[in-house]
């Protein structure tokens, strides 16, 4: 069965004919060619498919495309400014080691955006809660949390990392 949906995608008005059974993930990746959103598990357990719908982080692999009627959708491709300026969260992830293999990054960054848009002064516990549904195997989450904290408006101390030289006279 088909239907037409009207929605806003990354700032642009869209009107598309879709199949009833399509997930939002399928619509984005296979129909619209927006490959930034990833499929990690297909069952809403890993968060790699996270996109924002009306500002809320959702697992697009479980979200029916038919449900986006009248809503606003933002994917990772729509986060940087139209001129190409990175969003502060993207910039922080890049500069602070929040990205290794990068597969979880689009979902992780959008979950962080959903949090900080609602709670700009989010602290460490709130950050961990917000990204608890985004699995990362590479980073151990530490530098991801640091990246998000650096954008949060509360002045935060970085997680302490101690480094020193064993022998100065080398």
């Amino acid at each position: 069965m088909e239907r037409v949906v009207s929605f806003v995608l990354n700032g642009s008005e869209m009107q598309l004919r879709i199949q009833d059974h399509w997930t939002l993930l399928h619509l984005l990746r296979e129909e619209l060619g927006l490959l930034g959103t990833k499929e990690g598990c297909g069952s809403g357990e890993c968060g790699a498919c996270t996109v924002l719908v009306d500002g809320m982080a959702v697992n697009s692999c479980l979200y029916l495309a038919a449900e986006i009627e009248g809503k606003t959708v933002r994917t990772i491709e729509g986060l940087a400014s139209p001129e190409g300026t990175l969003h502060p969260i993207q910039k922080a992830f890049v500069e602070q080691g929040g990205i290794q293999c990068g597969f979880c990054s689009p979902g992780m960054i959008l979950s962080a955006k959903a949090l900080l848009d609602e709670n700009p002064a989010a602290g460490e516990d709130e950050i961990k809660e917000a990204i608890a549904g985004n699995i990362c195997r590479c980073t151990g989450y530490v530098q991801i949390i640091e990246s998000i904290r650096s954008v949060s408006s509360t002045a935060q101390e970085k997680v302490k990392v101690v480094a020193w030289q064993a022998d100065e006279e080398d």
Partner: protein, 775 residues
């Protein structure tokens, strides 16, 4: 100390911006015109004869372009023991056996076609316990092999362990076990293969071994009757590696076979359930260990025997003993060592490489046993380790030559940063464990080399073609930093290409934490050649001897005279656009001077070794058995941190993976079937599980590493389990000997220690029929 302008700096990963904006393409994202989608049918039984396969219905489904079974294809043998086939014929030996494969115009049609394939099986008795599988009367997994025990050479004896046992003042002996865990790469497996009209193969494959995979595929083509053709392996961006892509998999050969059969490009990508079930795990182990020391606490012997569940087919899991030998013979100074490992076929899944490659499993046993021995000897656990710590200049019984060694400094760092001596609260405990890992390559093949080609254009931009494989750890960035440092350029001027066997030189693979050391030295060697060419050209143009010139800030200038200077780009154009013009290019193949292990397994496997110590403070809830980590310190001796930010990423990621290994992760296997092939039931740690972590980095400046660096990819997950086990013992006096140390296990041990049975009733206090649970 030298002032470096890029080495030692926290430079962002070169491809981070693309990844942050959704531009990066992984195997899941790749499409080529005319591409078909492949899907695999797996076995319904853990052990059965294949009586008949009927593919007629599948073939008739509109949109299906090809269906293959093990009876349609030539014999392609792969795997360490060459006992594996891409599609099985005759019988199936595990639930993950590939029985048939389909190529269709879209994924849904491919899936439907797979469901239409009818296979008739005759079930056979299965064997799922490696100990039982060793018995004479056990069902044979591979009949032609005549026994379930593999012919593997894992046996060594240095010194005289029996004599040492007689002389030891204290001896401890214990059994430890580890089970299957899996890599959980967020980016699942996949390959995209096609042939041109001359039968040359191009395959995009999630691989950490592009050059070795190329050889495997050439062998496969040979078996298919396609001789003397070219094979091009292209590695797309990997969504994680951790060792999962160190072997070639059945699905890659299936993609190749389907591509050849249909004369079209064929892409296979795994869904998450397939990723759990059909990719290979970490090697499970059953370990018996005895260690002994003299009255002063000096280790006299270490005696270890292991049984490894080899699963149905053989991959790198069966070779983990060759790496387990490293901590067994060389972690701490032990003069007498004996080790034997048996690998046994079962109808379970099979293991391959996973971060640490046996080291975590062996270190769990060794470092748990060290705490036990220290207690038996009445010596403080920290002092016990210091007494036996390796030092610079030590040569182990296995002939490993320890050059730089920061083990003692790491012990100090952990004691200090963890504040180990502070008074404990109830239920709290601290524990530590050390690690040794190869840090300067690992000669497991006849070559441990990596090639680099550098070309410089007319504008001062540099292309570096490296055999190294990046999978997110930062090999590309570290290589760019090294080249930029040598040539006085910015990292932005360097473009590292690391993906294509048609373009990049040979490398043995991203394993053994070797990439920074080997690929780094290779890039440095090529960069030095470029620098020599630059100086040659510049000395003529600037009329200054080469040794009085420096490369700095994208220019070449005289040391003495600031006015004798030229921008790099301008110099290059002058050199190029003139009579007998020249362009700068160089290559360097670096193969470290390490050694293959001999027949007795002696040999200096690596140019240098990375050491580290992890310390942890836990709080154990005695009502639930839950272990909470209060503090974690992971100190590593890394030689030189070329990129401290990326290095920390490896440590944090490794530690979190190690904590999962210690406490929560396990493949639950029931008669060979994976019962938790999803993220809900396979307990991988999330952001809420992050522990307060410190990662002190020791720089001992290794003489053989590029700018002094040693490897760091794997050490982070090596000693986590024993550190935590030792802390649990310190907290509540129970020693957990089986991983993972789940709350159920910890609680059962606490109860047993207290003399309380399964019903919660104290010994001697059972009121008659209250306890109805069978022991």
């Amino acid at each position: 100390m030298n002032q470096f302008h890029t080495v030692g700096k926290r430079i962002p990963k070169l491809d981070a911006m693309d990844k942050a904006t959704g531009r990066s393409q992984y195997i899941q994202d790749l499409k080529v015109p005319g591409m078909l989608y492949g899907k695999i049918l797996y076995s319904k039984y853990p052990h059965a004869k294949i009586v008949h396969i009927d593919t007629s219905k599948a073939k008739k489904l509109p949109g299906v372009r090809g269906v293959l079974t093990g009876y349609d294809i030539p014999e392609i043998k792969f795997g360490v023991y060459k006992d594996n086939r891409p599609l099985k014929a005759g019988k199936v030996r595990s639930y993950r056996d590939e029985v048939a494969a389909v190529a269709a115009v879209d994924p849904e049609t491919a899936e439907e076609a797979v469901r239409l394939i009818e296979v008739t099986y005759e079930a056979l008795p299965g064997i799922f316990d490696p100990v039982a599988a060793m018995r004479e009367d056990a069902p044979l997994v591979h009949e032609a092999h005549k026994t379930n025990i593999l012919k593997m050479p894992w046996k060594l004896h240095y010194g005289d362990v029996e004599e040492a046992k007689k002389k030891a003042a204290y001896i401890v002996e214990e059994n430890f076990s580890t089970t299957w865990v899996t890599h959980c790469c967020l980016g699942a497996s996949g390959a995209l293969a096609w042939f041109d009209y001359a039968d040359n193969l191009t395959i995009y494959s999630n691989t950490q071994i592009p050059s070795l995979a190329q050889k495997d595929f050439i062998d496969a083509l040979d078996a298919m009757g396609i001789k003397n053709r070219r094979v091009r392996v292209i590695k797309p961006l990997l969504g994680g590696g951790f060792g999962s892509k160190l072997d070639t998999y059945a699905y890659e050969y299936i993609a190749i076979l389907l591509a050849h059969h249909t004369r079209k490009p064929v892409k296979i990508v795994f869904d998450r359930q397939e990723e759990f079930i059909a990719t290979s795990t970490r090697q499970p182990t059953l370990t018996r260990i005895a260690q002994g020391c003299d009255k002063e606490g000096r280790l006299l012997f270490r005696d270890i025997s292991m049984i490894l569940d080899n699963g149905a087919y053989t991959s790198w899991g069966a070779t983990t003993p060759s790496v387990m030998m490293m901590p067994i013979t060389t972690l701490y100074k032990v003069p007498n060592v004996r080790y034997e490992a048996k690998c046994v076929y079962t109808n379970n899944t099979y293991a391959q490489a996973m971060r640490g490659y046996g080291n975590p499993q062996a270190t769990f046993a060794i470092e748990s046993s060290m705490d036990m021995l220290a207690e038996a000897a009445g010596i403080d656990r920290v002092v016990f380790r210091e007494i036996n710590a390796n030092e610079s200049g030590y040569v182990s019984p296995q002939n490993f030559k320890i050059t730089t060694c920061g083990l003692k400094e790491c012990i100090d760092a952990v004691v200090r940063e963890l504040d180990m001596d502070r008074p404990k609260e109830k239920g709290e405990g601290v524990g530590m464990a050390s690690l040794i890992h190869v840090g300067g390559g690992a000669r497991v093949y006849k070559s441990d080399g990596c090639g680099t080609i550098i070309k410089v254009d007319d504008f001062g931009k540099v292309n570096v073609f490296t055999g190294a494989s990046d999978m997110g750890q930062g090999a590309d960035t570290v290589i760019a930093q090294i080249v930029a440092e040598e040539l006085g350029l910015a990292v932005d001027d360097i473009h590292v290409i690391h993906t294509d066997t048609d373009v990049c030189p040979w490398d043995v693979g991203a394993h053994a934490s070797r990439t920074t050391f080997v690929a780094g030295n290779s890039a440095l060697g090529a960069a030095k050649k470029i620098k020599a060419q630059v100086l040659e050209v510049a000395s003529r143009i600037l009329d200054t001897p080469g040794d009085r010139l420096v490369l700095r800030d994208r220019s070449i200038c005289s040391v003495e005279d600031d006015t004798r200077t030229m921008a790099f780009g301008k110099l290059l154009r002058k050199a190029h656009f003139s009579r007998s013009g020249r362009m700068l290019m160089a290559e360097y193949f670096y193969d470290p001077a390490n050694e293959n292990l001999g027949r007795d397994f002696r040999g200096n496997l690596s140019m240098t070794y990375t050491f580290g110590v992890h310390g942890v403070r836990v709080k154990v809830d005695e009502e639930t058995g839950k272990v909470k980590i209060l503090d974690y310190v992971a100190a590593h001796d890394v030689g030189k941190a070329i990129n401290p930010m990326l290095l920390e990423g490896q440590v944090y990621g490794g530690v979190m993976m190690g904590i999962g290994y210690a406490l929560t992760e396990q493949i639950l296997s029931e008669k060979g079937q994976c019962m938790n092939p999803n993220f809900r039931d396979y307990k991988i740690l999330t952001a809420k599980d992050v522990v307060p972590m410190k990662a002190p980095v020791l720089e001992s400046s290794d003489p053989d590493g590029p700018f002094g660096a040693k490897g760091i990819g794997e050490p982070g997950c090596v000693p986590t389990a024993p550190a935590i086990a030792n802390a649990i013992y310190d907290a509540v006096g129970v020693r957990i000997k089986d991983l993972p140390m789940t709350p159920e296990r910890v609680l059962a041990a606490i109860r047993e220690n207290q003399g309380i049975d399964l019903c919660g009733i104290q010994a001697g206090k059972d009121p008659g029929d209250a306890c109805v649970v069978e022991e």
